[in-house]
Structure formats: structure tokens, C-alpha cells
Symmetry: C2
Subunit: 111 residues, 2 copies
């Protein structure tokens, strides 16, 4: 990985977007797009970080973190991201679930 | 998988606990515990479902869904779960981050 797996999020409150998805078979340009979207998201106002994991069964979770609701809505409307969302429904995902929540508390452990 | 990957969550509001973790090397009893804890969690009052993904790099995300804050706090205090939490810090996880949020809206796509 070129990015650290854990996001460095600030003290709550902030927002989380949980994106759970089942991938279709084959890459079909997905990996390139995913990398570009990660870079583009990181440039958006209010972006706080992202964490992502996908198992060999093709089921994955991406949790992205945002300062507020407005920054989430703005990112959803970015043109290149709209194009990626369309391609996602056309060919990359069998199914996905998006949930938007306000993070109220957080804690961690590390060695 | 014996469980469906996607949780069937109700209309918001409800709560999400995001658990991001980096596993240590080796199983050391982790898989058995994870299965038992998933079964035990599903019996708790206020439990709404769970989604989980872990990549080959050992980084994983488990998002669990709950009716309210009280059910999250009660599950955290269940004795067998406390034991699992201790073992997690002793031997199963290099690091983890827990975030608790209130899900305010949700949407989905499926073929």
C-alpha cells in the first residue's frame, strides 16, 4: 500500500460515510478509477481521511471521514465523481449500501 | 460465508460502530473467537446487523449497526466480550480504531 491503512481523524464530532459494496467479476478499469477517486477525494474541502478493506470474496467496506454534511454532498456532486458513480452502477458493483453518520465518540488501541 | 455480507438495516436513524483493525500474524484462536463474538452480538438487544471485510494485508473493517447508544454500551460490557477485547489487545491486533456514529441517512444500489 502506498497510503497508511488508518485515517488520522480529529477529535469528534465529524462525519463518516460507510460504503459497503460487492464487486462484479473482473477489473474493467476499476482499480485505476479507485486510485483516481481516492486522490480526488483527498483534495476536497472537509475531507478528513479514508479507510478501506476488501476480502477475496469481493465484498468490501470503505469508510471515509468528513468535517460536515456539506463537504459530503459537495464530493458526491463533483463531475468526475459522478462519472465514476455511473460506471460503478453500470459495471463495477453488483450492489452497494451507503450510510452517512455523525461520529460522536472514538477511541483506539495501538502497540 | 455462512452469513450474507450485507446487513439489513432499518430506516435511519440508528447507530454504527466502525471497527478498523490491523491483525497480528497468525491466527492464535482469532477465527474461533470472531465467530463466537458474531453469534453473541447478534443476540444482544438493539443489534441490527454487521458487515465485515479484511484484505490480504491484514487490515480490516467491521461496521456493526445498533438501535441506540445504550445497546452499544451494553454489548461492550458483556463479560465474554470483555474477555475477547482483552485478548484482542494482548495478541490479535496491532492496532485498532473504534468510532461510534449516528446514521442519519442511507441509500443503496442493487442489480
Amino acid at each position: 500500500m502506498s497510503q497508511p491503512a488508518f485515517a488520522s481523524t480529529p477529535r469528534p464530532p465529524y462525519y463518516v460515510v460507510t460504503f459497503s459494496s460487492q464487486r462484479t467479476d473482473g477489473d474493467n478499469g476499476y482499480s485505476d478509477m479507485a486510485e483516481k477517486m481516492a486522490e480526488l477525494a483527498a483534495k476536497q474541502p472537509g475531507y478528513l481521511g479514508v479507510e478501506s478493506a476488501r476480502g477475496s470474496d469481493g465484498f468490501g467496506i470503505t469508510n471515509s471521514f468528513w468535517a460536515d454534511e456539506q463537504s459530503i454532498r459537495s464530493w458526491k456532486a463533483v463531475l468526475d465523481h459522478l462519472d465514476a458513480q455511473n460506471k460503478g452502477r453500470e459495471k463495477w458493483y453488483e450492489r452497494y449500501e451507503v450510510r452517512v453518520g455523525k461520529v460522536e465518540r472514538a477511541y483506539s488501541f495501538g502497540r
